[in-house]
Symmetry: D3
Subunit: 132 residues, 6 copies
């Protein structure tokens, strides 16, 4: 199995509902350093799983509507908590859609897996991975 990972980041505000979150129930924020990993069983004619440049562009495109936002006010997230792991799923699912629609190129149709990790600090991170 081959894989390619690209890294980018977003800086967001949000609050989390539920007593379990303690002080994180207050409006606060996070830098999420986001790693997106694209995996597949075979290389294309160019010798790539996915073009790294395109992968970076598509990750940026998926992150852009979240960047420099208060996620409490983003309609897509109404009614749910924007925990690190929940955001990882949103990003992975949106990347998966882009793969399906050809945004990562024809060869990327053979990708079998996407994994997204969000580093919220030097001591905590969360992720989501799924089949394609």
């Amino acid at each position: 199995m081959f894989s390619v990972t690209v890294r980018d980041h977003v800086m967001i505000a949000h609050s989390l509902r539920g007593e379990a979150f303690g002080p994180a129930q207050r409006l606060h924020g996070a830098t999420y350093v986001v790693d997106a990993t694209f995996s597949g069983r075979e290389l294309d004619a160019d010798g790539t799983v996915v073009d790294i440049g395109r992968a970076a562009e598509q990750l940026r495109a998926v992150l852009a509507p979240l960047d420099y936002r208060n996620l409490d006010e983003v309609p897509d997230f109404a009614g749910g908590n924007t925990t690190t792991e929940a955001l990882a799923k949103v990003i992975a699912d949106r990347l998966a859609e882009r793969v399906r629609h050809g945004a990562l190129g024809a060869a990327a149709q053979r990708l079998t897996r996407i994994a997204v990790t969000l580093h919220e600090s030097h001591v905590a991170w969360a992720g989501y991975e799924r089949e394609l």
Copy 2:
């Protein structure tokens, strides 16, 4: 599959028995930077795999009896080598027990996997992962 990882560390002394270990047969020591990853297929009502604060607390609780110790004198380790990978298993198993006994909360009962990685330097690390 969702996952949450928390990082902590311990500073221990030990020696390793067996010619294969060369100079590491002498009493020496290590800082182990420990990453514990908790994975599950679903999020709970709060949108979490496991509460990050609780995960960090439980990792600390598991590491505390090892921290600032000479592992050669810890009865639990008598008769075996405290290699990095063997310690990773001890820590993973102890975290698994805590999950089972509810220390990470009711929702954590749905966790399916624990992985523990011990970084012994910038150029070597070892880990153990298991089902729950």
Copy 3:
């Protein structure tokens, strides 16, 4: 010259006023991974510049009132931008005060310099350093 550095972090929301900030004028947030460096010309009788445990405690004490906050609503910051470098100065100055009041121990009175660096992402950080 000797130095000791300890690392901690805060997760805050804020917005920045001024056209130069572009999208960062919107309410967003950041994880700041904070490094505080204490320097001095001599070691004390214990062989330390400053006790690492105490340094970590005092850094935590200085960060606590900022953590999980919307800095736009913290009275201390009214009227100024909470840029990364401005926050670094606030933290360095508050640590300096604590050194002066003995919170880091008697030996710490000999410290000559404090430097604080705030990492806002994997590609940007800012700092402030000052004499004591």
Copy 4:
């Protein structure tokens, strides 16, 4: 499942053929920081998956013929692109061969998996993993 990882690096020149590569079609270069992970279901009598010292030596041995080379002139790579993921496979396959021939010791025969990751920068990496 246990695993041990060792890290080393190579500094190479190469060019990539295919329009998708844009400026990377020109002769350029890379530092690849290489992580090799050896996994197995059981520990040997010494308490190791694989001896870390031996693992590091064998990784160095596999990297040596690539280090400080222009990969465009290495006969083994004629006719294919030396993308990061393609190189990861070459390195993983060569390590696998060494495991099979006993270079990592008798116990290493029980290894079940090798994974190799090449970090080409702080924002991109690629890997290959395979059964043994």
Copy 5:
């Protein structure tokens, strides 16, 4: 003293002349992860040493003519070795010129120092710092 640092990278080929360089006399390459630090004694009205966005843009502009190049063929470097420390000076000097010509904004005229560090691997880096 305040400072702001931004990180970017280039991927280059080159060779080094002189017996001291051993195998690095052959054509090889490197990823240089480049940190540029801008320092000044005062913050401007916005509360910044230098706008981080502008700093990142100018670093990219300085790195662009080096990126994906064989430095042995870049006329600017004819007659000298493109060691890591020599390249750090080139980049620092070019950033200094841009500061002088106003590319980082009027407030940046008050900058007093630029430091550039090039990380060539996880175990070696070099830098150059200068007054403005």
Copy 6:
């Protein structure tokens, strides 16, 4: 001012005397990831501050007698605490001696400064820097 840094590590056991150290009074250990920085105002004819290969060799030579040792039993350290900052000074002073005796080459005689940083974990490090 130019600088070159090389990284290596040691794994040691030790204990610290003095109530301030709390649990670190017990025999424990540490991995110290050691960065040695050599600085000078000019480059030599090869375009280097110091040969990186030689710098790495000399750092290894200085670290070797500490590696895989219980520092409590090393005669050189009798009567003093082997705190992180105290060890940084020992390593810096020994590197300085080697520079003076020509072990880093004739050009290295022009070096003006050595700085040594010991990372004891992901959240604490200490250092010592001195003139040459």
